[in-house]
């Protein structure tokens, strides 16, 4: 695998490919740090990994048309949806893995933008449950 320029990320919400409306995608996974500091730490804090969580952040170009991103995202508010991300094209492999994250659609931005700008909006969803990773499969 070589370094690459981001142009071909695949983004799906449920079964709908929304890549053509998406300008930025970030999946961030974290594990809570649980303090286990004791007298044997030689004056240093000690932590172990706790519960894992994640956040999916997406920047969209707005579209109210039939099948547009607004008509896909807005009805999902308050529900759990599956977001699928593939970093670099539709061919899933060891060097282009597929991530699948159940997320809570806890915010949408049906109206956003300043005068003269391209209509865009950003959303950030917390994951809910296990985020899976695979090196084979189909988008």
């Amino acid at each position: 695998m070589a370094k690459y320029v981001v142009t071909a990320t695949v983004v799906k919400i449920g079964t709908t490919n929304v890549s053509n409306s998406c300008a930025s995608a970030t999946l961030e996974l974290t594990a809570a740090d649980v303090d286990v500091t004791d007298f044997g730490g030689a004056g240093w804090t000690e932590v172990i990994g706790g519960l894992k969580s994640g956040t999916v952040t997406l920047d969209f170009h707005n579209d109210y048309g039939v099948g547009g991103i607004n008509t896909i995202l807005n009805p999902l508010l308050g529900t759990i949806a599956t977001v699928t991300l593939v970093p670099n094209g539709t061919v899933v492999s060891a060097t282009n893995p597929i991530w699948t994250a159940p997320v809570l659609i806890n915010s949408v931005s049906p109206v956003a933008g300043a005068v003269g700008d391209l209509a865009t909006f950003s959303v950030s969803f917390p994951t809910s449950g296990e985020v899976t990773f695979a090196t084979a499969g189909t988008v």
Binding site: V6, T7, A8, T9, V10, N20, A23, H61
Partner: protein
């Protein structure tokens, strides 16, 4: 999936709705004002993933006549105006998809209102920047 040629032709079609204004999508050998010349200045590719959107920046150069002609400035003023039958901005933005050739567009600004030398003749002209979003 529109081509630059399609978008340029679409812009020329919109400009052709202005009474008396000639349009061309290719730089002519000789100028017969008033005329609007549509050219692309730069393209920003990959505004979304998977080749979903590109940004095209066009320049519409409107040439109205020899710089010394009294009527030339009044005519150019009417093209620069944001309202009225001769408004370049209004004429273009009345169809923001150019008949389905693009997703959206906007005439963002006018610049270089002044003299333009072509050959041995100094014309009065202005340039309009048009940003077009298309797949």
């Amino acid at each position: 999936m529109a081509s630059i040629t399609d978008i340029r032709a679409g812009l020329a079609t919109r400009l052709g709705t202005i009474p008396g204004l000639r349009t061309t999508t290719e730089t002519p050998d000789t100028i017969s004002p008033p005329i609007a010349i549509v050219n692309v200045s730069n393209v920003n590719y990959d505004r979304t993933f998977q080749r979903g959107l590109d940004e095209y920046n066009f320049v519409v150069t409107v040439i109205v006549g020899r710089v010394g002609e009294r009527s030339a400035q009044r005519l150019l003023d009417s093209y620069v105006s944001s309202t009225g039958a001769s408004s370049v901005k209004l004429a273009i933005e009345l169809d923001r998809t150019l008949g389905g050739k693009c997703d959206s567009l906007r005439v963002t600004d006018m610049r270089n209102y002044g003299s333009l030398v072509i050959g041995e003749i100094t014309y009065l002209a202005a340039e309009f920047n048009v940003v077009v979003f298309a797949q």
